[in-house]
C-alpha cells in the first residue's frame, strides 16, 4: 500500500485490500489506509520486556528532610553564567551549594533520587563541587553514571570507578585485584587498605615493586602519605636508590617527615653544620655557612643539585637541607633557645630571608605549632603586611598548622592593623564559620571602607568570602549597615546605595545560611 502511495495510483495498481468498486483509486487507497492505520493503532500491544537493569545499591543514609530537599532543588535551579552584571542585593545561590553539600555530608544524609540528575549536571560543570557532590549523591549516582555517558566523570572521580573493593580481610581477593586490576582500581585498593592495615599495604607494594612502571611507582608511593610511620622507613630507604628521580625525591620527602628516620638524622647534622650562633659580636647573631658542594650522599637523600635559573647553588642547597631537617635540631644546636628566640636572632650577611623561608617550609611540612607561631610573629608587626621575610602565601600556610581559634585571632589582629586589602589569602585558611572576633574585625573593616567613601566592589572578594564564612548569627548586628548612609563629601557618587545593597545581600545570605543549617539538623 505504501509503495502504491509513494509511486502514485497512476503508475501502480491498487493492492487487493484497497479495491472498492465505484470509488476513485486515490480515495479508495486513502480509505483503506485509514482503516489499516486505526486497526494498527487500536491493536497495539505491549512489547516483550528487555533485560531488567541491576538495581542500584542501597543507600543506608537517612534521606534529607523535606525542607532541605526543597532548598537543594532551589539551589540547583540557580545556574551560573546566566544573568551576569551587577550582583544586586540577592544572594548568590550557586555559592551556597558547596556549603549545603558539606553540611549534608557532615550530618550523614543521603540524596533525594529525583534530584540526582540535576546534581550530577551541576558537578559536571564544576570540578570544585565534585568531591562533595559525589559523596552526597551516593551509590545511586554511580549506578546512573553507568547508564549515561554525560556523567562518566563520576566513575572516574570515584576510586575504582565505583567497583566494590574486596574486604581487606579477604587476602586472596585483595591479591588478585592487586595483580590483575586496572590502575585506578589498584590505587583505590591501596588507599583503602592503607587506612586500616598499613602493614598489608607495604607487603603488596613490595611484592610487585620492581615490575611497576615509574609513574605508577610514584602514585603508589604517594599513597603512603596517609598513616606514614616508622614502619615504612626501610621501604622508603630502599626507594631512595630508585631508578626514577621523582620516586627518589618523594621517598626523601616522606622520610624527612619522619623525625626519627635515619635520613632526618643525616639532614639534621648537615643543616646544623651550616648554622651557628656567633657570640663574638655585640649581640648574639646567627651566622650561615652554606654548603660548598652537593655530594653524592646529599643527592641520594633527595637534594636537587641544580638550582632553578636565577638562584645561587649554595643558597639553593642550604634551603633544601634546612627544609628537610627536623626542627628539633635547632634548639640544642642554637643555645637552647625557644623557636621564638631563635627567629628573633639577627642573621648575618643577608641570610635571614633564605633561612626563615626554609624554616617556614619545614614548619609547614612538619606541622610544628611552636615554630609556626614563632615564624608568624605578631599580627600587628609592620612587616606582617609587606613582603618581609615571610610572604603572605607562606603565612597562610603557617596559619594552617595553628589551632582554629588562634588562627582566627591572629587574622583578626592582622586585619585590625593592616586592613582588608592584604587579608584575602589569610581569610581563606580560617575555619568556617568565622570565630566571633574575626567576623567582627572583617565587618568593622568593611564599615571603615564604606565610611572612607570607596566603592564596595573594591572589596567584592572579601564580601563574597564574608557571605559564605561569617557566622549566620551575625545577621542581626549587620542589620543597621543595610541602611543607605548620607552621602559624605569625599565619597564616590552613589557609593552609599551600593554599599547598602552589598550589606543587604550579606544579611540575606547569612539568613539563608541559617535556614539551611536549621533545615539540616543532626539526624
Amino acid at each position: 500500500m505504501v509503495t502504491t502511495a509513494l509511486l502514485g495510483t497512476e503508475r501502480r495498481p491498487l493492492p487487493a485490500a484497497a479495491h472498492a468498486p465505484g470509488k476513485e483509486a486515490p480515495i479508495a487507497l486513502l480509505d483503506a489506509a485509514a482503516l489499516q492505520t486505526l486497526r494498527r493503532r487500536a491493536g497495539l500491544r505491549p512489547a516483550p520486556a528487555a533485560a531488567l537493569p541491576e538495581p542500584a545499591a542501597d543507600d543506608p543514609r537517612p534521606p534529607v528532610p523535606p525542607a532541605a530537599r526543597r532548598r537543594l532543588a532551589t539551589l540547583l535551579t540557580d545556574q551560573p553564567g546566566t544573568g551576569g552584571g551587577r550582583r544586586g542585593a540577592a544572594p548568590d545561590l550557586v555559592e551556597l551549594l558547596p556549603q549545603w553539600l558539606a553540611l549534608a555530608n557532615a550530618r550523614g544524609y543521603g540524596a533525594p533520587p529525583e534530584l540526582l540528575p540535576a546534581l550530577l549536571n551541576a558537578a559536571r560543570g564544576r570540578t570544585d563541587l565534585r568531591p562533595q557532590a559525589l559523596t552526597f549523591a551516593g551509590p545511586r549516582a554511580l549506578w546512573l553514571a553507568r547508564l549515561n555517558p554525560d556523567w562518566k566523570f563520576a566513575l572516574r572521580a570515584t576510586p575504582g570507578g565505583g567497583v566494590t573493593l574486596p574486604s581487606a580481610d579477604d587476602a586472596p581477593k585483595v591479591r588478585r585485584l592487586w595483580e590483575e586490576g586496572l590502575f585506578a582500581e589498584r590505587v583505590a585498593l591501596l588507599t583503602t587498605l592503607r587506612a586500616h592495615h598499613a602493614g598489608a599495604t607495604l607487603d603488596l607494594l613490595v611484592s610487585t615493586w620492581s615490575t611497576e612502571r615509574a609513574e605508577d611507582r610514584l602514585m603508589f608511593l604517594d599513597s603512603l602519605r596517609t598513616g606514614l610511620s616508622a614502619a615504612d622507613e626501610p621501604f622508603l630507604e630502599r626507594a631512595l636508590t630508585d631508578r626514577s628521580r621523582n620516586v627518589r625525591a618523594t621517598a626523601a620527602e616522606l622520610l624527612s617527615a619522619l623525625p626519627d628516620s635515619a635520613l632526618a638524622g643525616r639532614m639534621s647534622s648537615r643543616a646544623a653544620s651550616c648554622v651557628a650562633v656567633d657570640h663574638t659580636s655585640d649581640a648574639p647573631t646567627l651566622t650561615v655557612e652554606a654548603p660548598h658542594e652537593c655530594d653524592a650522599g646529599m643527592e641520594r637523600d633527595g637534594v636537587t643539585p641544580k638550582p632553578p635559573t636565577g638562584r645561587g647553588e649554595r643558597s639553593w642547597w642550604l634551603g633544601q637541607l634546612v627544609e628537610a631537617a627536623p626542627l628539633a635540631t635547632w634548639q640544642p644546636r642554637l643555645g637552647n633557645r625557644t623557636p621564638a628566640e631563635i627567629v628573633a636572632l639577627p642573621v648575618a650577611d643577608d641570610w635571614r630571608s633564605e633561612l626563615h623561608a626554609a624554616w617556614c617550609r619545614a614548619a609547614v611540612r612538619q606541622r610544628d605549632v611552636a615554630w609556626s607561631r614563632a615564624l608568624l610573629g605578631t599580627p600587628a608587626s609592620p612587616d606582617a603586611a609587606g613582603p618581609g621575610a615571610v610572604s603572605l602565601a607562606e603565612r597562610a600556610k603557617l596559619l594552617a598548622s595553628l589551632p582554629a581559634a588562634e588562627r582566627a585571632d591572629w587574622v583578626a589582629g592582622f586585619i585590625a592593623a593592616h586592613g582588608l586589602s592584604e587579608a584575602f589569602q589569610l581569610l581563606g585558611v580560617c575555619a568556617v564559620p568565622w570565630a566571633e572576633p574575626l567576623g567582627r574585625a572583617v565587618v568593622d573593616s568593611l564599615n571603615i571602607a564604606r565610611d572612607a567613601g570607596s566603592y564596595p566592589w573594591s572589596f567584592s572578594g572579601v564580601m563574597g568570602l564574608a557571605e559564605r564564612c561569617l557566622d549566620p548569627s551575625e545577621a542581626v548586628r549587620l542589620e543597621a549597615l543595610t541602611a543607605i548612609p548620607d552621602e559624605a563629601e569625599n565619597a564616590s557618587p552613589g557609593a552609599g546605595g551600593y554599599w547598602s545593597e552589598a550589606f543587604q545581600r550579606l544579611v540575606t545570605t547569612l539568613r539563608l545560611r541559617a535556614a539551611i543549617r536549621d533545615e539540616l539538623p543532626p539526624p
Binding site: L30, Q36, R41, A47, A50
Partner: protein
Amino acid sequence: MTQQGVRWTADQVLALAPDAPSRKAGSKLGAAGPWSEAGSTGEGAVWGLCKGSGSKPYQTIVDIADVAGPAYKCSCPSRKFPCKHALGLLLVWAGTDGTVPDGGEPPAWAEEWLAARRKRADAKQGSAAAPAASADPEAARKRAEKRAERITAGATELEQRLSDLLRGGTASAEQMGYGLWEETAARMVDAQAPGLAARVRELGAIPSSGPGWPVRFLEECALLHLLDQGWLHRDRLPDGLAATVRSRVGLPAQAEGPPVRDRWVVLAQYDTADSRLTTRRIWLYGTESGRTALLLSYRAAGRAPALALPVGLALDAEVTGYTGTGQLRVELGEQFTAPAPTAQRPPGVRPEEAAARYGEALGDDPWLESWPVTLAEVIPTRAQDPRDARDARGTRDARETRDTGSWQLVDPATDSALPLAPSATSRPGLWRLIALSGGAPLTVFGECGHRGFTPLAAWPKDSGETVSLC
C-alpha cells in the same frame, strides 16, 4: 480553609514561573532577607513587602485559592506574570523559617485588592447562575451556518488535493518543500477550519522527519482524509463522534453538562509551543470519581498561559466537561479551597490494560494521539543500548549525537513493556524517572499512544511526593 502549616513545595511554586529567567530571579528573592511585613491568611492570600533597589518596597500579594488558578498583584513595573516578587514571596511562604506566618490579617493595601477580587468573583458567580442571554439567536445561527459552509468548501478542496497527491505519488512530497503545505494550510485558515490547517502543517513536516517517513505520511494523509469525510458526512455520524469531528476540525467546543465536584490531584502541567501559540496542558485526577481530566489553556507564543496549578497538590473544585474528543477535556469551575498536599495517587494498571485503553478510546476519537494512564509497578529499562545503535548504523555522526538509546517501562510481573515515545527519551525528565526508580518498580503517570508512552509524573514505591517529569 487550608490546614495551618500546609504549604507548597519550592518545585510547585517554581512551576508557576512564566520562563527560566523568572524562575532564577524568583529563587533569589526566595529568602527572608528582602521581605518584611509578610503574612498569609491561611485561606490562600499571601502578601509581603519586598525591598528592591528603590526607596519604596514593592507590595506583593498572591491569591492562591482563586477559581482560575493563582492570581497576583505587585507594585513592581515588571510585565511578567507572575513577577519575580510574587514567585519569591511564594517561595518564602513555602519555606519553613517562619518569615510568612499563617493566620494573619492582611494589611490595608492588600485587603483592598483581595476584597475587590472577592466582589468580582461573587458578581461573576451571580451572572453565571443567570441564563446566558444571547443577543440574537437567529443571527448566531446564521453565522454558524455560514461558517459550516466555508468549512465544507475547505474540506472538499482538501480532499481534492489529497486525491491529486495520491494519484501522482507521495514520493514527490519530499521534494515539494514546505511552501505548498503552508499555502494549503493558509487555505484551510481562510476556510475557518484551524484544526484542518494544523494537520496540514504537520503533514508538511513529515517528509523531513527521518527514516520510515512514507508510512507515517500515508497514515496521516489517511487520517486527514477520514476527518474530511467525517465532516462532510457529519449528519450521519452518532452524536458523540460528530461532536468530536467538529472540535477536531476546529470549531470551538463548549463545556456543557453539570459541573462535577471532586478532590482533583494535579498530576502534570506542561507547555507545548509552535510559532503562534503556547498550549498548556494540565492533567487532573479526581480522587472520588476516579476520572482523569485535562485542562487546556492557550496564550500567544512566548507567553505563559495564565492558568497554573502546582503539581502534586489536590484542590477541591468543580469542573465541567466538554463534548466530543473522548470527553477528557474539562473547564475549571469554582475552586473551594487552595491547593493542598495529598497522599492520594491514581491507581495503576498493567501495560496490557494501558494499551487496550488507548485502543478503546480510538473508537470514540480516531484522531487521538494518546490516552492518559497510570502504570503500576514498572521499571524503566534500556531497550536498546546506544552502543548497539551506533554499531548498527556504524557512522561517526551517530556517535556524536546525544543518543541515549531507547527505553521502555517494564512490568516485571508480566514481562511485558511499553516503549517510551522517542520524544520522551531526549527530555531531562527521563533521567529523573530513572534516578527515582534506581532499578526498582514505581508508579508512573503519562500519555500512552501509538508513538509510545510519555511519562509525566512518578511516585516512588514507598510513600513520597509526586515527582514531576515534564
